[in-house]
Amino acid sequence: MNYLFYISSIVAIAATVMVITRHQPVHALLYLVVSFLGVAMIFLSLGAPFVATLEIILYAGAIIVLFIFVVMMLNLGRESAIQERQWMQPKTWIGPSILTAILLGELLVLLTMGGSAPMPQQTVDLKKIPLSLYGEYVIAVELTGFLLMAGIVGAAHIGRHKKKYLHRFLKQEEEAV
Amino acid sequence: MFSHIRTIWLTFLHLFKRHVTIQYPEEKIKLRPRWRGRIVLTKDPDGGERCVGCYLCAVACPVDCIALQATEDENGRRYPEFFRINFSRCIFCGYCEDACPTYAIQLIPDFEMAEYNRQNLVFEKEDLLINSQGKYPGYNFYKVAGMNAGVKEKGEGENEDAPVDIHSLMP
């Protein structure tokens, strides 16, 4: 099981690096999907199949599809890829990468210093998840619900057709009446 | 919603209906005698060509697929020197048959004319001419026509009076 965990982690990290370095937005999104699948696999190897499937259904199956949908509608062609390439000069990415590399080094040091604890290999029972969601974390769930509700209301408000657009002849008729 | 279910049910019932397909090469469709198919040139009962080369069919043809050249034999009987129908253009409308004054050109119930080579669809006179009277048996144009073209003497045709002697002024 440990090997599965490491393989999927490497796949996820490699895919994420590819997401950052791709110039074509759709390719980047595809690598993002692969990254999500890798993360789902990590969850599965840690004994959380429910979270793994939800990761695929929600993130890979719905949200990234919407992203791709929007990118498709924007019709970003070769020009935007060239523009992206111009933006990705070494001077823009070298600073953040050095900082991140320092953090990564710290992480590696910490990981090697701390003794090796065995990976928890215990499958989470499906019934435990709703019980903890609606028992222990009920306030968090409700607050998230509020947040989503606000988002939906906002979207509905933006999407509402307030004005009635009439043809000018019909408008004249309406004004005459 | 109910109408959808009804549609599905009615379509399902079609499973038990007779199919309308005719399995063509084995099973042929029955064609009526007036079916407009391949164009032929017929002959009169004596075996002479009916066509008199009047060009009316070529004029009537809406797609200009008929080409012919009229000529005369030593008796003064007109006949086509060549007669060419381009079946890759023909639309089988039957206007040529309507236009023909001598029942020479006729459409017969035959449609199996598929060809690999387009040039093979251009039919010459020897391809068109058949040894038959077609739909009008017994009709002979030169027997009822006024002129003498080697078929009969003037005035000896069917329903034809003897020629008037124009030198006599008697009524």
Partner: protein, 315 residues
């Protein structure tokens, strides 16, 4: 070792079913339209399958120069891959099941949601207006119908208390869930038609409007993959319907369990074809409106009532 045999056997049977459905669909469609259908090659024309497959293999495998090459190649593989992955959780008999995951139905939903990518990527990579329109339609249709596809199945899950398909089938020993969850069945089946984008919901393809929709530019075996993916999708939805609502392998003992499963599945496959023969295609906006405004609330109501009744009964 037994696992390998089961996987290979299931794969073999499924691919043969998908190929055989070419013939079944064309014959049955013809029957319902008072025609004969393909009847020349072999007995009753069954060798049309062979002829069609050979034809697909020998066609030119054309990648348009304006297409995005790699995405163009990946897209048809995604559809077949995701559908075949879904079959992992289908219990053909108590023994013949690749893996009875404890998140069974969720896994099925996850894989079918990945199937959207084939349409979206295929349409986008073709770099063709009609393909793109098809892809857009496909994406929005499948996202919309996926939502209540999951919700419509949750009623059954509530009654069983398990996501495992094996448990769900076993819970139907006394009574099939079609009796307790008729609305769930109808909703799931409608969503299933939309998910496999079969007629009457073939809006992403819509020959009369969009040439062939998202796979306009595909030819040869790449098109064949879309083709097989569609037939496998039909089989999958039928199999899931049977397992969830019609008692899976359960049946009288004069036939073995696998025969019952295939018999029931086949009835639903035929129903898919019957729908194709009878119903016209709705307009795109009508489809979306029905999905979001009628079927989704219905699914939620079904869920609520089922939950309430289940709570009442259990006390």
């Amino acid at each position: 070792m037994q696992h390998v045999w089961i996987v290979l056997g299931v794969l073999f049977v499924l691919l043969n079913i998908a190929a055989g459905l070419i013939w079944v669909e064309r014959r049955m469609l013809a029957m319902w339209q008072d025609r004969l259908g393909p009847n020349r090659a072999g007995p009753l024309g069954i060798l049309i399958v062979l002829a069609d497959t050979l034809k697909l293999f020998f066609k030119e495998d054309w990648i348009p120069p304006f297409a995005d090459k790699w995405v163009f190649i990946v897209a048809p593989a995604v559809v077949v891959g995701s559908v075949l992955m879904s079959f992992v959780i289908i219990p053909f008999t108590p023994q013949i099941i690749v893996s009875d995951l404890n998140v069974g139905i969720l896994f099925f939903l996850a894989m079918s949601s990945l199937g959207v990518y084939s349409i979206v990527l295929g349409g986008w990579a073709s770099n063709n207006k009609y393909s793109l329109l098809g892809a857009m339609r496909g994406a929005s249709q499948m996202i919309a119908y996926e939502v209540f596809m999951g919700l419509s199945l949750m009623g059954v899950v509530m009654l069983t208390g398990s996501f495992k398909l094996g448990d769900i089938v076993n819970a139907q020993k006394d009574m099939w869930f079609v009796v307790k969850q008729p609305l769930g069945l109808i909703l799931f089946f409608i969503a299933g038609i939309a998910e496999t984008h079969r007629l009457p919901f073939d809006i992403p393809e819509a020959e009369s409007e969009l040439v062939a929709g998202y796979h306009s530019e595909y030819s040869g075996m790449k098109f064949g993959m879309f083709f097989i993916g569609e037939y496998l999708g039909i089989t999958l939805i039928s199999a899931v319907t049977v397992a969830m609502f019609f008692g899976g392998w359960l049946g009288w003992s004069f036939l073995p369990p696998w025969a019952w499963f295939f018999l029931k599945t086949f009835v639903f496959i035929l129903f898919f074809i019957l729908l194709r023969a009878s119903l016209p295609r709705p307009r795109y906006d009508q489809l979306m409106e029905t999905g979001w405004k009628i079927l989704l609330p219905l699914a939620l109501a079904n869920l609520m009532i089922t939950g309430a009744v289940a709570l009442l009964v259990r006390g």
